[in-house]
């Protein structure tokens, strides 16, 4: 894989243009919201990062992990795809939580509430940190790849259970006493606000594709560097052995 090719260049350029457009739309063109004021502009960052992390990245990681574990489709490509996608997902999920928290402070008056969606997202964040920790374990690549794939699938089956449990947990204590963002966003959004949100989601999706391509390229280069080190070490040992052999022949 070359450092860059037509496709990655085009993706990168498109990402920069779309992100700039998102910034202009979100900060200048779109109006402040009636209830939330200017803090609504944070949602143009919060919603697309959440989409990118929760659905796109972790969806791709789960699918790629399943394909890696399936013996017939096992190849390093799926492993690299799963790892690259998860790294991007964790980064953007961290951003989602941080931006959401900054939005929540003026809107709800607190940095954090034990809302079911927030809580299950936080648990998911830690689950995927665990996944990355397994990938980061030094040692045999094939072993950690397979174990990481199992962890990714376990996280995938665990998510609905986690979500249901926190939903009930909060439901028992109190009904939502503050506005939840789903009601704020879904039905009433129109005009420039809707346009901005759509552009932002597209921009972050393109950004994801660009980051993914480059992260996979770096994985591939790491792998090749490892192989070359091994080849060089082998050649060195062989030369040493040949030297010793000729020295032994010279002094009988």
């Amino acid at each position: 894989m070359p450092t860059r090719n037509g496709v990655t260049s085009a993706l990168g350029a498109a990402a920069i243009v779309l992100l700039a457009l998102t910034a202009v739309l979100a900060l200048v063109v779109s109006p402040a919201e009636v209830n939330q004021g200017d803090s609504v502009r944070l949602l143009y960052l919060h919603v697309p990062t959440a989409w990118l992390a929760l659905y796109l990245s972790f969806g791709v990681t789960s699918l790629a992990s399943a394909l890696y574990l399936w013996p017939r489709t096992r190849s390093r490509f799926w492993d690299m795809l799963a790892g690259a996608s998860a790294e991007i997902g964790v980064l953007f999920l961290g951003l989602t939580l941080a931006v959401g928290s900054i939005w929540g402070r003026p809107t709800w008056g607190v940095w954090w509430t034990w809302d079911p969606r927030l809580t299950s997202t936080a648990v998911l964040f830690v689950l995927y940190l665990g996944y990355l920790a397994v990938r980061g374990v030094p040692g045999d690549q094939a072993v950690t790849s397979k174990r990481a794939a199992v962890v990714a699938l376990a996280a995938f089956v665990d998510v609905p259970i986690i979500h249901q449990s926190v939903e009930w947990w909060r439901g028992q204590h109190q009904a939502a006493s503050v506005l939840d963002d789903s009601r704020l966003l879904d039905p009433q959004i129109t005009g420039t606000m809707a346009t901005t949100l759509v552009v932002a989601v597209v921009a972050f999706t393109v950004l994801y594709a660009w980051l993914l391509a480059h992260r996979m390229r770096v994985f591939d280069l790491e792998h090749r560097a490892g192989q070359e080190d091994l080849t060089a070490a082998l050649a060195e040992r062989r030369a040493e052995a040949a030297e010793l052999g000729s020295a032994a022949r010279a002094t009988p």
Binding site: L69, V123, V126, L127, L129, G130, A133, V134, V137, P138, G139, D140, A142, V143, K146, R147, V150, V151, L153, A154, A155, V157, D158, I161, I162, Q164, S165, V166, W168, W169, Q172
Partner: protein, 222 residues
């Protein structure tokens, strides 16, 4: 598969019975955790008895970490892991056996811990059938998830730190459900427990099935 499971469970329990690590170290640790909660929350009996269900399960969870580490620790010595792999036993059976041995150990631990919360936290036990049933169910789920993740961490240099990071978030729904059932039973309102018992059943079923299917992939490598 089930015959293999019984063989592996019997082996693990025999090792524990002879080494007495579980009774001499894990059990005192669990009781110590109960005392530490009292130090952290104050000795006000109202506070402790109101939180007893959650504290009980937190103590079980921490002790389970030790039991799971131990379960894979005994396979690490003398290359027992390779022997297990070469034994020809069914992978799903090995998973069920190791999980079963942990269930037996944890149930014994829970009996002692249960007595501990009655004595130390001044808790009244109501609805004994619900308590026992839900405890067995939750313990099975805990052991299944624990052994599945234990195998992921087994044999790695960072296993002691990796295992809690992997298992504890995955066990979040189990802790929530088990603690709510315990609260409902101890608080004399067993009617509130129904959805949580269903959740425990789903969690346990999912992880037992996942473990039986995935354990082969985890075992065959390296």
């Amino acid at each position: 598969m089930f015959r293999d499971a019984v063989l592996v469970a019997a082996k693990d329990l025999r090792v524990e019975a002879r080494s007495r690590v579980a009774t001499n170290q894990v059990l005192p640790f669990a009781l110590l955790v109960l005392v530490l909660f009292a130090f952290a929350l104050g000795t006000d009996r109202g506070t402790l008895s109101a939180a007893a269900g959650g504290l009980f399960w937190l103590a079980v969870l921490f002790s389970a970490m030790l039991a799971i580490q131990r379960s894979f620790g005994i396979e690490a010595a003398d290359d027992a892991r390779d022997a297990l792999r070469l034994s020809g036993l069914d992978a799903g059976g090995i998973f069920l056996g190791k999980a079963g041995a942990i269930v037996v150990q944890l149930l014994l631990l829970e009996v002692v811990l249960g007595a501990g919360i009655v004595v130390l936290y001044d808790v009244q036990l109501h609805a004994p059938l619900l308590l026992i049933g839900s405890t067995v169910l939750a313990t099975a789920g805990l052991a299944a998830a624990g052994v599945a993740y234990g195998m992921v961490a087994a044999g790695l240099r960072v296993r002691e730190t990796l295992l809690p990071l992997l298992v504890l978030p995955a066990l979040a729904p189990l802790l929530l459900a088990a603690a709510r059932v315990a609260d409902a039973a101890l608080g004399g309102t067993p009617g509130l427990a129904a959805p949580w018992v269903r959740l425990l059943a789903v969690f346990t079923t999912v992880y037992v099935a996942f473990g039986v299917v995935a354990f082969g992939a985890l075992l065959e490598e390296s």
